[in-house]
């Protein structure tokens, strides 16, 4: 058997240039695929993580109906039962929020916004708003001592022509549907990776909102972050059974952002395009090379058959050669691709120059590509299967060469 391997391997390098062209085209295809998949995957992961970190958390508890219509009417009290079930070792942190639709007004302009009342200390544990807040030049995050203070995004500030320390008026309905306006001082600016979020959300201390609106101790939501994001559904179910309150809804981030789930699915599906490209590259380059190689070796195969080589063995030899082409291309493509992605995964690809609009997807403008092992497994399987398919016809052809015809042919 060893001789067959030797032959297969040496045959591969008989026409070095041709083999290298095929190997590099497979390699390049794999490389591009790994890169594209790594990029898409990084994009998806960041899109999801950013959304979780800026607004949704992993799980939220609301008054039933709040998710569809975020009105102040849907508020609830944090009961002991809720507190007890939140005291779970799988839960990393949780924090209360009050959310009210309202308006923000400056001397220049006004706009519709969502006012989010947060507990500044607890919020630090469940979202990245604290990290997104610039600290310096007087800008700071909210504190528990703040009263009429508001944290807005730099882009909203720009839009409304507001400066740090400026007073702005927030208008919203209280519990009794009375419209009230509260003057607030801007204490800080934040910038999240999600542009639409920035333009729409302002933060203020939860106490203030509870007092002004007459909510008292009641809140709009509890946002929860768990230790292991793979267990989100289990924890959600556990909370549902433990709290067991028909007036409340407990939702995972997937329930709250179905559009995000479908976007991720769509991008995942786009990967099939790359699989197709690889498939076509491999089929054509491998089949073409093998057919040429067999034509060149017509006489030689004739000699081999004349001295008693069975068609099966010729078939295996050609398949083995094809396999070598595929595997060498595959291995070099994977190695190059993975190294490249690892490096880019650390330094990131900065798109801020090209498209500010990347931010509107919520992925941030710097993408950190990351490969999924599963994608590499799929790529490997695809290359091996396509190589086999591509080699089948040439190998059968070679196996069927009639020794007599081939011997004449020198």
């Amino acid at each position: 058997m060893k001789i067959i391997f030797i032959m297969g391997w040496r045959n591969l390098w008989r026409n070095k240039r041709r083999s290298l062209v095929v190997i590099s085209s497979i390699s390049l295809g794999i490389f591009v695929m790994i890169f594209a998949m790594g990029f898409m995957n990084g994009f998806n992961v960041q899109m999801v993580e950013n959304t979780i970190k800026t607004s949704l958390g992993h799980i939220a508890i609301h008054r039933k109906g709040f998710q569809d219509d975020m009105k102040l009417d849907y508020n609830f009290k944090i009961t002991d039962t809720i507190l007890q079930s939140l005291n779970d070792e799988e839960i990393l942190a949780y924090a209360p929020r009050v959310k009210i639709h309202g308006m923000i007004r400056s001397s220049e302009a006004s706009g519709g916004i969502m006012i989010v009342g947060i507990d500044p200390e607890k919020e630090k544990n469940i979202s990245s708003i604290y990290d997104y807040t610039s600290k310096g030049d007087g800008s700071r995050f909210l504190t528990n001592e703040d009263e009429e203070a508001v944290l807005i995004s730099s882009s909203l500030a720009k839009k409304l022509d507001l400066m740090l320390g400026d007073k702005t008026v927030l208008m919203f309905q209280d519990k009794n549907k009375e419209i009230i306006g509260v003057g607030m001082r801007i204490v800080g600016f934040f910038t999240s990776p999600i542009d639409s979020f920035d333009k729409f959300i302002v933060f203020t201390p939860i106490k203030l909102l509870q007092n002004i609106t007459g909510l008292g101790e009641n809140i709009s939501e509890i946002t929860i972050v768990v230790k292991n994001s793979r267990k989100i559904n289990n924890i959600k179910q556990k909370l549902l059974t433990e709290i067991n309150d028909a007036d409340l809804e407990i939702l995972s981030w997937k329930d709250m952002a179905p559009f995000l789930v479908s976007a991720v699915n769509l991008f995942d599906k786009m990967m099939y395009i790359f699989f197709m490209i690889i498939f076509i590259t491999v089929i054509f380059s491998v089949a073409n090379t093998l057919i040429m190689a067999i034509m060149e070796r017509f006489h030689e195969i004739g000699v081999m058959k004349s001295i008693g080589t069975k068609p099966k063995r010729i078939f295996s030899l050609i398949m083995f050669e094809a396999f070598n082409l595929g595997i060498v291309g595959l291995a070099s493509g994977i190695i190059l691709g993975v190294i490249f992605i690892q490096i880019l995964g650390i330094i990131g690809i900065d798109f801020s120059f090209y498209m500010e609009s990347m931010r509107s997807w919520g992925s941030g403008s710097i993408i950190y590509p990351a490969v999924k092992t599963m994608d590499i497994v799929v790529a490997t399987v695809i290359v091996i299967i396509t190589t086999i398919i591509a080699a089948l016809y040439p190998a059968v052809k070679a196996a069927r060469i009639k020794p007599l015809d081939a011997l004449h042919y020198v």
Partner: protein
């Protein structure tokens, strides 16, 4: 029993609709240990006859038996086994597998026969020594002279211990001296080991050296003389 027994063998080729009678009724017996040549001008049917004997081609009519067994109706697999185990082939040129070196080329046949690696190497190197290629064992065909390549082909043909070695104009691509040396080698193997050789040739030197000369003309045996 004759190694080869041919009765009323005919072969007609279809060459673009025109029937070419390459063999027109051959009767021939080859006995064990012979060192014989089929001679005749170009186109007289020598190659056709050797190919049929070697199971590479089928006769149009007549019978051909090898060690008493008629091979006319053998299927491709049986013919392949026959060529592997009972016949050694030496062609005019380009006999060898280019990517394999001399010893690997010889071993290849033993590999096909399913012989284990260490015995393969032992037998192949012994045979290569016998044909005088002790020093060239690890050379690829491209690095061997024409005469050396034919010696490797001889080694490969005999390593499987076939019943007969068929050589179609083995010296045609060699110069006089090299061809003569090759013939010496084969003759020695014939004498020492009793290997049966059947050549085709139109080389006078080969005809002179062979012990029996079967003269073909237009697909029939014109003369058959044992010296």
């Amino acid at each position: 029993m004759s190694i080869i027994k041919i009765e009323n063998l005919k072969k007609t080729y279809d060459s673009n609709g025109i029937a070419v009678n390459a063999l027109r009724g051959i009767n021939l017996k080859i006995e064990n240990g012979e060192f014989s040549a089929i001679a005749g001008p170009s186109g007289s049917g020598k190659t056709t006859l050797l190919n049929i004997i070697g199971g590479l081609d089928k006769p149009t009519s007549g019978t051909i038996s090898l060690s008493g067994e008629i091979i006319n109706d053998y299927n491709p697999t049986k013919l392949s086994d026959l060529r592997l185990n009972k016949i050694g082939f030496i062609f005019q040129a380009y006999n060898l597998i280019p990517v394999l070196n001399a010893i690997e080329n010889v071993e290849y046949v033993l590999l096909l026969q399913g012989i284990g690696s260490s015995e393969r190497t032992k037998r192949a190197s012994n045979i290569l020594k016998e044909v005088g290629l002790e020093k060239e064992m690890n050379r690829k065909p491209a690095k061997l002279s024409g005469g050396q390549q034919q010696r490797v082909a001889v080694a490969r043909a005999i390593v499987s211990e076939p019943e007969i070695v068929l050589a179609d104009e083995p010296t045609a691509n060699l110069d006089q001296d090299t061809g003569s040396a090759l013939l010496d080698l084969m003759h020695e193997l014939n004498k020492k080991k009793g290997i049966t050789f059947l050549f085709s040739t139109h080389d006078v030197m080969v005809m002179d050296r062979s012990e029996r000369l079967v003269y073909l003309r237009d697909g029939i045996i014109a003369e058959d003389k044992t010296k």
